[in-house]
Symmetry: C2
Subunit: 316 residues, 2 copies
């Protein structure tokens, strides 16, 4: 089966690179480092290449091994984790030049771009897929690997909150707690701790938050200027889209954030009910999960807002 | 043992009243209704008396049975759940007039004011104590009882976040999920859904938030006027103290809220590390848990702030 093939390729490869999606979140980084530490535990070296690394995750085992680039041009094996599409793979030249490629993911929109694809869209986090995979491989999930895995589970389930969580999610966490992993500390670090800049951006976005369509849609934004003024670092906008989502009656929360190219906004959408925001983001060339998705749109705040609202109205 | 005595008293009693603490939170209400539904499942009627009931919890099984008062003056048995002190019991005359009294609680500061006291300060929620108790009593935790219990666990662990959570917390939740209880929906309802008034109060409190003592203390407040202006209902200030707690570097978060008696403020404190806020609140006649506690203090915002800061400085 696929899992056996994956293990076989890992064993055969003399050089392995692990890649994930751009703007990496906790599941992307937890999966990358979890895979790296797991391979290390069975005596296989691997390079994790991340050109962007939010400092929230500096505490993770293996974080100091992360590289921005590599001398190796043609890896024997490239593994991408938590990434639906080759276009979104960070430093994807290493994937394209690799002799063999493996894709491990939990996005329903995965385009199956690897030689071997192991995709389970029902899994709440790519890290939860890895947990099952390591068990199948007889790799002991020690506290280091467990810390990485738990990071992905906590971030991608919003702290065990989303409807994607499974009994296995909770049982796995109970096991980690019994192994001595400080679940609460990891939770605080990856999900609860706001930098001052994060807090300031949250305040600004809350002050601007509009409730539209009879309170069914929450909309807010931050600009490049905001981020500059509060000395924001990568990741400091995290949590903003969740604020709108949490207001009673809101079915879709939309948060847009200006990119370096000032005419482009990254939209993040969350759904609290039946509206599939992945479908909406797909219309703009993006994607994600039914309840959490994103895309890039050109225009001013008002133009982007109107474009998105137009599509949301069709499905409200 | 104590548990056998509790079951014996329940079986003997022809009239049972269930009480909890004033300003009831999810654990207080979840425990009260969980106990009520559990007794019902073994054929015992009970009255749950709550003079205050945040509408967030209207969805809970048994909520429609809640009474504001009762014709019965002398119950055979009074049970308090999640309440450390007789002074804080809501409608405590029913407790004082009862022929027999049982106290079930998880506060370390419990004064053991019942005829039978079952107190486990290590338990993250009174509801988690009840879960174990019902199992011992051979009471099946059906979806109704489970929904009540889970509500207390989720609210008192901040959504599985606090260091008080145990492997059993996660295993119990996995079981509930397998029984078909919608964990995610309960989580959203009790912890994530903000009313518009709640959102407005949060915004105001965030705008006023001060970082003091080199960023180790977060302080903010809301007044009675704020609550009137946003048409706040009971419970609409929930979550404010958590905002300060979540800022990087903050060790103690203090939130004060003006009471109906305008010269009195309710202080809520949260600790992120080793500072025991229960000890600090105890100095003002309050109490709680080491990482989450409260008290009432007289004065203006500035006076209350100074009194609390003076005590915090001693332990920073």
């Amino acid at each position: 089966m696929t899992l056996d093939n994956i293990l076989e390729e890992i064993k055969k490869a003399n050089s392995i690179v692990i890649l994930t999606h751009e703007s990496p979140d906790g599941d992307a980084i937890g999966s990358s480092l979890g895979m790296h530490m797991a391979l290390k535990s069975i005596g296989k070296n691997s390079d994790v290449i991340l050109t962007e690394f939010p400092r929230t995750f500096n505490f993770l085992p293996g974080a100091k091994d992360v590289k921005q680039e590599s001398d190796i041009k043609n890896y024997d094996l490239a593994i991408t984790v938590d990434c639906a599409d080759l276009k979104r793979v960070m430093a994807n030249e290493y994937f394209e030049n690799a002799k063999k490629t493996i894709v491990i993911d939990h996005h329903g929109s995965n385009t199956m771009y690897g030689d071997i694809n192991f995709v389970n869209p029902v899994s709440p986090a790519c890290c939860e897929i890895l947990a099952g995979m390591f068990e199948y491989f007889d790799i002991n999930i020690d506290t280091e690997i467990g810390t990485c895995i738990l990071t992905g589970i906590i971030t991608d389930t919003g702290g065990f909150k989303y409807s994607s969580v499974t009994p296995e999610t909770f049982e796995f966490t109970a096991d980690l707690l019994r192994k001595g992993i400080n679940v609460s500390e990891i939770y605080e670090r990856v999900l609860e701790t706001k930098t001052k800049a994060n807090f300031e951006l949250l305040k600004r976005s809350m002050d601007r938050l509009e409730l539209l369509e009879n309170g069914k849609v929450a909309f807010t934004y931050i600009t490049k200027k905001d981020e500059e003024e509060v000395n924001a670092e990568p990741g400091d906008h995290e949590g903003i889209v969740e604020e709108g989502r949490s207001i009673e009656g809101v079915e879709v929360s939309v948060f847009i954030r200006q990119r370096d190219d000032e005419n482009v906004y990254k939209i993040s959408m969350r759904s609290t009910g039946n509206i599939n925001v992945s479908d909406i983001c797909f219309l703009f060339g993006g994607g994600g999960h039914p309840k959490a998705a994103g895309a890039l749109i050109q225009g001013t705040v008002e133009q982007v807002k109107e474009q998105v609202l137009k599509e949301i109205r069709k499905v409200l």
